[in-house]
């Protein structure tokens, strides 16, 4: 295929896509209208199951199966990264030299680390009540651990980060989500149905049936996955060198 033909092909396909997109946009409901058929139903279902945060109810109850798919995507993506960034045969590890960090920066990092960790857990635990949930809280908690690399050095981070534990945690959390779904199948009607637990009192930590449990599973999965992902990137950037390198 010559350059000219390819160009025409791209132009034709691009024009077709643009026409379809514009046609779709013209048919959209107006910005900020007062009719929201899907929203109304989602809010009604969410309040019926005592989940104050409707988004959490959609993610972990009404569309919990979609979240299972998203979790599997993250799991697979991290697995792929871990495979690609492993140490190959012609590479060796060099001990990272400790960095000289200014004392105020070091103190700040060591002080904020526990605060950020607690905030991550808080965001996961309040997923059914206020904005946030497993994904957001998990990422915050995992980022918090890496303050040890930023405020001290890589050796300090490696000491509190046994990777095997995080690998097991990642797999356990991912299977916990599926097991909770299967429990719904055995205990009542359908896979991931939210009818196992009592719905609790509206706007308290234990409300929402299985929503907080699924939230916790996702939080643990995401936190472990992010730690594993960053571990491979840090290994490559800090420790692993080509044989015959400097």
């Amino acid at each position: 295929m010559s350059r000219r033909v390819r160009l025409w092909l791209v132009l034709a396909a691009g024009t077709g896509l643009a026409v379809l997109l514009v046609a779709a946009c013209l048919d959209l409901p107006n910005f900020g209208g007062d009719r929201h058929p899907y929203g109304d139903r989602a809010v009604r279902a969410s309040i019926a199951r005592h989940t104050a945060n409707v988004i959490s109810s959609v993610n972990f109850d009404q569309r919990a199966f979609d979240t299972l798919g998203e979790m599997t995507i993250l799991f697979g993506a991290v697995l792929g990264c871990v495979m690609l960034l492993r140490q190959t045969r012609d590479e060796h590890r060099a001990r990272p030299r400790p960095a000289e960090v200014a004392p105020p920066v070091r103190r700040y990092a060591l002080l904020v680390l526990p605060v950020a960790l607690v905030t991550g857990i808080y965001v996961v635990a309040h997923g059914q009540l206020s904005p946030g949930g497993g994904f957001q809280g998990g990422v915050v908690a995992a980022t918090a651990l890496h303050l040890l690399y930023l405020g001290a050095d890589y050796g300090a981070l490696e000491r509190i980060r046994p990777l095997g534990v995080y690998e097991v945690g990642d797999a356990l959390a991912a299977s916990a989500y599926v097991v909770l779904g299967l429990a719904g199948l055995l205990g009542s009607t359908a896979f991931l149905a939210n009818s196992l637990l009592p719905y609790g009192t509206f706007n308290t930590l234990s409300s929402g049936g299985t929503v907080p449990l699924l939230n916790a599973a996702i939080g643990m999965e995401v936190a472990c996955a992010v730690v594993l992902l960053l571990a491979r990137f840090l290994d490559q950037a800090v420790e692993i060198e080509k044989e015959n390198g400097e």
């Binding site: 990272p96 030299r97 960095a99 000289e100 965001v123 206020s130 930023l150």
Partner: protein, 150 residues
């Protein structure tokens, strides 16, 4: 639109607009400072929006930003340490001005909230925001020496 959202709009347009200009042009030392100030300016705007919309739950966004914004700047300070050591940023006036702006915002919000748990949360966010912003500035101005391969 009430006074809180108006203040947030003005802060976003002026503050983040300036920060964007700073991060887009000039030498590296200016860009890292602008990145630090962008997070330090966005956090008070988030708090003002939460108050303006009357949604206390939105304060969580300000909390996460006050925690992770300075961490992001520490990432740049650490991994660009060699380049920044040759040409260290000096931006104490801008840093303290933005810190003062954050303090004024948090105090105004505290007065509007009244003594309660929400006020304690706002004070924690304010402390994290100002402390993090100042420390991140310190880290940019030579917080990491001889990082080498670490």
């Amino acid at each position: 639109m009430n006074g809180w959202t108006l203040a947030a709009t003005v802060g976003l347009a002026g503050g983040l607009g300036t920060a964007l200009w700073g991060v887009a042009t000039g030498p590296l030392r200016r860009r890292v400072v602008a990145q630090n100030l962008a997070t330090a300016l966005a956090c008070p705007a988030m708090l003002l929006l939460a108050q303006g919309y009357g949604r206390p739950a939105y304060v969580d966004l300000g909390l996460v930003l006050a925690l992770l914004g300075p961490v992001g700047t520490l990432v740049f300070a650490r991994l660009l340490a060699d380049e920044l050591a040759e040409d260290p940023p000096r931006a104490w006036v801008a840093t303290w001005a933005v810190a003062a702006l954050g303090a004024v915002t948090v105090i105004a919000l505290c007065v509007a909230t009244g003594p309660s748990r929400a006020m304690a949360k706002l004070l924690v966010i304010g402390a994290l925001l100002i402390g993090g912003n100042v420390i991140a500035s310190r880290a940019l101005a030579g917080g990491f020496r001889r990082v080498g391969r670490g």
